[in-house]
């Protein structure tokens, strides 16, 4: 497989050594072969896309490239030289840097410190900080990517997007460490960004190509094809091929990823049969106000999916949390199925049949060290109990059924959820609300964040199926397309208010442009 991945030699110019080359990389984890002989070539001055299903081994491969994962076998070559990468510092010295899938900034330090962290250079002399120099260094990095944040702002006061920019500014410090063109790895950098921010990022990525090589991972295949020169595909820890992005369609990539053809217009699945009760309003919100939203009115009918769209800070996320009792409200009334909903806490909401999937999976969605099974049944304890007693058998059968139904890739139901790939973790979190089958209102905050296409279609199918069974769903979608495709109705929020409502019945969908107009 190595040979056909090699650069086609140009007869006129001697081919320059690839910036980075991986040969037969292997990594085992207990019960999983995360990498099973991966080959990969990153040429100089190119943007290489990396695609693959959840758990295909992308993150593991990339972590091996920055010295965080010690491979069990295989070789890594940097600019024609075989290397051993023992640590992040090692990798940085070879000019390889990475922006991780989960944000990795120190929240209580300033942006400037985060940017220079670990490579302060002249910013620290003899252990003493020189704040002015540090600020200047950081400012230079921020200027490179055109970000306007204050370098001395504490990182946890920045918005999510700004933090992502800080991460990119930080990884660009690699340039200062080596004289060679660096290799910069971006693991799913866009999954948490808005379209405008994604555009900025892509401009930067294209600029980076002038002097560096970039490896880019995303589950949004159109995006990958848009920004990359070439896309390599991983499946089950192996390289299965590559395509030049100029002449590839998402469908083809998808086929390579899963080994069979899949459909691309996954948003527009067949609308399920709606039960009769469908026109009965299930959730009625009147004048709901809180810290970051005011006078929100919202009706969701049984079996209906209502998307809420808005830019960052529009308050839609807090509305969701408020409906789940996780954010205080100052005024307003919420009625679920004719009964007043108790907003005093999450437990009351759960009891009333409200489910919530938070966006921040790592800290809020899952309990990392606990098993898949325990995470799945954490909310709906009754599903694994008889009376007050836990029945391990009952739990095992139930959990195994859902693992299979959602194709959750885990060695075992007893595996700690933190050992799963991001997408599979998300599926477990979603399954948590489904195991008991008694949810009436589902609040989904970016439920497909970090999921591959297959998993996404599965989640979409699930959402429709749930809607079909009468569940009312509020969706904060990952992208406008997703919102449009999935929702029956879309509410636009801006500045803490629900400003507009757009109907989006099958066949009468608005365009993203229609929505953007309303959003700003």
């Amino acid at each position: 497989m190595t040979t056909n991945l090699q650069t086609q030699p140009d007869p006129r110019v001697p081919a320059p050594a690839p910036a980075l080359e991986v040969r037969g990389l292997v990594k085992h984890y207990p019960g999983v072969k995360a990498l099973d002989g991966v080959d990969l070539v990153v040429r100089q001055h190119e943007v290489l896309g990396l695609a693959g299903e959840n758990g295909a081994g992308k993150s593991t491969l990339l972590k091996a490239l920055v010295g965080l994962v010690r491979p069990d076998g295989g070789e890594i070559w940097v600019r024609g030289e075989k290397v051993r990468l023992r640590s992040v510092v090692d990798a940085a010295d070879h000019g390889i840097g990475m922006v991780f899938q989960e944000q990795s900034l120190v929240p209580n330090l300033t942006a400037a410190e985060n940017i220079v962290l670990g490579s302060e250079g002249p910013g620290v002399r003899r252990g003493i900080y020189r704040w002015n120099t540090m600020r200047r260094l950081a400012q230079e990095q921020l200027d490179k990517i055109g970000s306007h944040i204050d370098p001395l702002a504490r990182t946890d006061t920045l918005s999510f997007a700004d933090r992502q920019m800080v991460e990119i500014a930080k990884v660009l410090r690699i340039e200062e460490r080596t004289s060679h063109p660096p290799v910069i790895i971006l693991d799913e950098p866009t999954s948490v960004l808005e379209s405008k921010e994604i555009e900025t990022l892509f401009t930067q990525v294209r600029r980076l190509r002038e002097f560096a090589s970039v490896v880019f991972v995303s589950h949004r295949l159109d995006e990958v094809l848009d920004v990359c020169d070439r896309v390599a595909v991983l499946r089950g820890g192996r390289s299965v091929g590559e395509v030049p992005s100029a002449d590839a369609a998402p469908a083809e990539l998808h086929r390579m990823m899963i080994g069979s053809t899949g459909s691309d217009d996954h948003y527009h699945g067949a609308v399920a049969e709606r039960p009769d009760e469908a026109r009965r309003p299930r959730l009625v919100v009147r004048g709901l106000s809180g810290k970051s939203f005011r006078d929100v009115d919202l009706d969701v009918h049984a079996g209906e999916i209502v998307g809420i769209v808005g830019v960052h800070g529009s308050g839609r996320e807090d509305v969701c949390r408020a409906l789940f009792g996780a954010e205080p409200t100052t005024a307003g009334e919420v009625v679920l199925d004719g009964e007043k909903l108790d907003l005093s806490g999450t437990r009351a909401a759960c009891a009333a049949g409200v489910g919530y999937v938070p966006a921040e999976r790592k800290t809020e969605g899952m309990v990392g060290p606990m098993s898949v099974a325990d995470n799945m049944t954490l909310t709906k304890q009754q599903s694994r109990c008889t009376g007050p007693l836990v029945r391990p058998r009952k739990q095992a059968t139930l959990v195994d059924r859902w693992i299979e139904r959602l194709s959750i890739r885990t060695p075992h139901r007893g595996t700690a959820i933190q050992r799963l790939s991001g997408g599979n973790q998300q599926k477990v979190v979603l399954a948590r609300w489904l195991v008991a089958g008694d949810v009436r209102l589902l609040l989904l905050d970016h439920p497909t964040r970090g999921l591959d296409i297959g998993a996404r279609s599965e989640v979409y199918r699930l959402m429709r199926e749930l809607a079909g069974s009468g569940v009312a769903t509020v969706l904060l979608a990952d992208s406008l397309e997703e919102a449009i495709g999935m929702s029956d109705r879309i509410i636009v929020m801006s500045d803490g208010r629900a400003t507009t409502e757009v109907a989006a019945p099958p066949g009468g969908k608005p365009t993203p442009l229609d929505l953007v107009k309303e959003m700003v």
């Binding site: 299903e53 089950g236 899963i258 919530y356 800290t363 060290p369 325990d374 954490l378 909310t379 007893g414």
Partner: protein, 330 residues
Amino acid sequence: MSAPALTSPAPDAVVPGRPTVGQRLTAFMPVIALVVLLAALTIADPGFLTLSSLTAAVRTSAPLVVLAAGATLVVLCGGIDLSIAALCSLATVFFALWLPDLGGITTVAIIAATGAIGALQGVAHVLFRIPSFIVTLGGMSIFTAVALVISDAGPVRVVDRDATNWLTLYVGGVVPMAFVVALVLVAAVSLVLRLTPLDSWIRATGYSESAARLAGAPVDRVKIAAFTVSGACAGLAAVMLVSRNFSGSPTMADNLLLPAVAAIVVGGTAITGGHGSLWRSLAGALVVTLLRVGLPIVGVPSAYEQILYGAIIVAAVALTLDRSKVLIIK
């Protein structure tokens, strides 16, 4: 998702999900530490390993086991209870004062009262969002003050010993009743945790409180319950101390605080919460007791005894802590 191509596990890979030999061994580490320590003491003084000596050691350890077991629940939830020892002292005073009026039901009354006091601390913790360290530190000084005042700053004799006599008996002639009670307590609480969802709620709370809350786990109630049990255990330990000392005193158990927390940590329970068990604390309490009484008895001079104590508890934790469960050691 269509046709997921699941990587087949390598044939020689261990059976996933089940604990490996190494993992099983880490679960037994506290016991191994205990045995090693006992062996070392026996080598230092062959007279130490006698039945009566062991009997005395486990009898001695009973109140510490009970205190540590209760506080383990709070630690598993990610908090800490510094008030157990002071509450236990207060309870000894209550016991001595109430016994003449309440007679046989004093024990029950004490456990109920200390449980209620523990619950109160738990409520203050979850309601006002004050760190448990501070709530219970405040509780500690308040209980001490109350105990001093109501006891008139002195021991209160217990003349009627019938109420506590049963704790001084021996089961089968060798196993002290107090230790049996401690064992039963640990077994009962562990069983309740295991058979009900409480276990996953507690661990979820300890590992990640916000995730637990957003999953609808009754985080606040679990925490209050943990503090309640911790308080009730302090009451039970108080009864054991009274049965041993024939009096209640406002500072009787105060010095048991650090040994109790040490017992929890030596057992391998993560002080940051989530990972651990009551059984581990039981073994930890035995290790700590052996160190407290064993070192001087086998003839280690006082100054060296402290140095050894320090070195051994650190070594014991190095042995017992399961580092695959506790990723960041603070």
